[in-house]
């Protein structure tokens, strides 16, 4: 069964703006991972946040995790046209199964 849900399904912004994507999951997790997928390509790992962490940064990316609400958010600051892609969250269950949401399609207009 599908674990995660992502919101919004699609997001269109201007270059330089910030983009925020949200993810919800249903069961307890070991960690939560965000990935990017460019059209016709495989997924690329962006950031992993463990269940005992609340916030993590990597370059222009900021991820938060709220285990009480079973939700996470990915913030991309100062977006660029090259950030145009689909973004997926994957929740790592304690059985070590990574369950993905349906993804958010981000379009950054230059």
């Amino acid at each position: 069964s599908q674990q995660g849900e992502e919101d919004p399904q699609a997001l269109s912004i201007q270059e330089g703006e910030n983009a925020t994507m949200n993810c919800s999951y249903k069961t307890s997790i070991n960690n939560l991972q965000w990935y990017r997928q460019n059209s016709g390509r495989g997924l690329v790992h962006l950031i992993l946040i463990r269940s005992n962490e609340r916030e993590k940064h990597s370059g222009r990316l900021r991820v938060t995790l709220d285990t009480s609400k079973k939700s996470s958010s990915l913030l991309i600051t100062a977006s660029r046209a090259a950030d145009t892609a689909s973004y997926f969250c994957g929740s790592m269950e304690y059985g070590n199964k990574l369950v993905f949401g349906a993804g958010t399609i981000l379009r950054v207009k230059s």
């Binding site: 599908q2 070991n30 960690n31 991972q33 990935y35 997928q37 016709g40 390509r41 495989g42 997924l43 690329v44 790992h45 992993l48 689909s86 997926f88 790592m92 059985g95 070590n96 199964k97 990574l98 369950v99 993905f100 349906a102 993804g103």
Partner: protein, 112 residues
């Protein structure tokens, strides 16, 4: 150097045929996976192997059989292909099962 590679990239075949997809990783990882991404981009795990041992086997038809000859390779064989098997299949690997995963470029399978 490609970290996780898959062959072929595209596969077009008729219903009822048997086909294989090959995957190799040169990262020295212990764990490898097969995922299926459908037309709505929903990505679901099918199998995972850790040190050549099958760890995760989701509710996948018996027509799908993974084989791991060694830690660096995980192949997927599909018997009696059906229209519903059309999808993009991704191989991935990770150092440990709870670590980040590295994905291959995908194999787009079209069953006609």
């Amino acid at each position: 150097d490609t970290a996780v590679s898959q062959t072929p990239k595209y596969l077009v075949t008729q219903m009822g045929n048997d086909k294989s997809i090959k995957c190799e990783q040169n990262l020295g990882h212990d764990t490898m996976y097969w995922y299926k991404q459908d037309s709505k981009k929903f990505l679901k795990i099918m199998f995972s192997y850790n040190n050549k041992e099958l760890i995760i086997n989701e509710t996948v038809p018996n027509r799908f059989s993974p084989k791991s000859p060694d830690k660096a390779h995980l192949n997927l064989h599909i018997n009696s292909l059906e229209l519903g098997d059309s999808a993009v299949y991704f191989c991935a690997s990770s150092r440990r099962m709870d670590y980040e995963q590295y994905f291959g470029p995908g194999t787009r399978l079209t069953v006609t």
